[in-house]
Amino acid sequence: MPPARRYAPSSFEFRRPTPGEQLIRFENLVKAFGAKHIYDDVNLDVRAGETMVVMGGSGVGKSVLLKCLIGLMRPDSGRILFEGHDVTNFSEEQFIQVRRHVAMVFQGAALFDSLSVGENVAYPLREHFPELSREELRRRVAEKLELVDLPGIEAMMPADLSGGMKKRVGLARAIATDPEVILWDEPTTGLDPVTTQTINEMINSMKVRLGCTSIVVTHDMVSAFTVGDRMAMLANRHIVAVGTPEEMRRSTVPEVRAFLDARRLELGARGMP
């Protein structure tokens, strides 16, 4: 249940920032689930137009970071700034305005089982643009499915789709409202290498075609280095390193090194360079 929150003083109005400008800021974030502390003091800046990859092991709270940004979870303390607005204490109603500009692609796609693919993609359009005609809805749904290379599958049900197709329909649904920011929660987990590459290409193509900012949460290092403009490493309840892929490769931070070395060992064991 969303907890009751006080209204923030101002309503939310989004101004599209220029590329490179600071768009999102996580400031001194603290979060715990019962006795388990997830974040002690997390700080991270994301710039407009970039793809920021947040890496980290399982259970360190990578997804929690994304969910805090759109109000699906609330931090215990600290601030989250989105385009200069402090959204930390936004009410559920105010977060609906934020979610119009920030879309999330869920780990398991989270498609609605009872709705067809077309109805899934149309869902956010009906919520945010109730004035759209049936014909316009149909046109936009077809356009978004075309964008993820799945044209003409509006009538199919989620149960009939493969894992990779579900992810892409999830992306079509997320971009239906033309958001400025896309949050990717473990986009390549559980996919075969070919589909993983397709998803990576899709993340890159969204940046080029829609000009949007992305935050990608993953522990897949190949994917991270393929899509990331900058990378952040979440470990021991902090962001322990931030930098470009090249800076991360040369990093001497033990947690980053351990991650990279483990990946190298894994590839080596498979006889890959």
Partner: protein
Amino acid sequence: MNSEVEAGASSLASRLPLGMRARASLESLGELTRMTGQVFSRAVRPPYGWSALIYHTESLGVRSLPIALLTATFAGLVISLQFGYFLARFGVQYTVGRVVVLTLFRELAPVLTALTVGARIGSGMAAELGAMSVTEQVDAIRALGADPLRKLVVPRVQACLLVMPVLTVFADVVGLCAGALVVRLQYGITLELFFQGALDAVLMNDFISGVVKGAVFGLIIGLVGCFKGLTVQGGTEGVGGATTQTVAITSVTVCLADFFITKLTLFF
């Protein structure tokens, strides 16, 4: 929610000492009360989800009709047999219709319908919403700018509130007919005598009391089922636990509510 983090928190909760578990139960009750308030406030404000209400009324009500009618039939048969047998000892077996109609209308029809249908639809709602919660579909609804309470809970609770009184009325009629038939065959009491006695004995208040109970039980079933579904933690294992808990909680709450409603209605 983050599944691993949540699973950790959930397993931690199950290891808590009794006092802390009692506190967690009270907190849960508080959450349910708050959700009830939120559901009511959303239910009276537009936009109204008529199509969702019709869909859930059909899926919860019409599909529950066979089990409700079967339960009512056997309840009518058994109490008519029992009362017919014992009233014959006092030579007043012709009054069986009066006794059966009051027992059915005031107690058995609403309570048995709530226990059997409630178990079916309450656990069904908990399982459906629980599965949606663990597969992040509820989070997705929020992320896409919609309100899960308005989309998922309000139409289900409204449907429960509508169908339970209607099912209770069906159970009243079917139970009474079954009772009339069995006393005709078993004790030779004519249908005319049975129904005349029933009509002489029953007051509008008796009928309304049962219908009101049906509505209150429907509200309990809808709210508890949805609440347990939306608050599932710990993956598929949690969904199983939520459905079991829904059946247990609705059964106990229906019995408790029955006592207090009976106490109240006897004054009017």
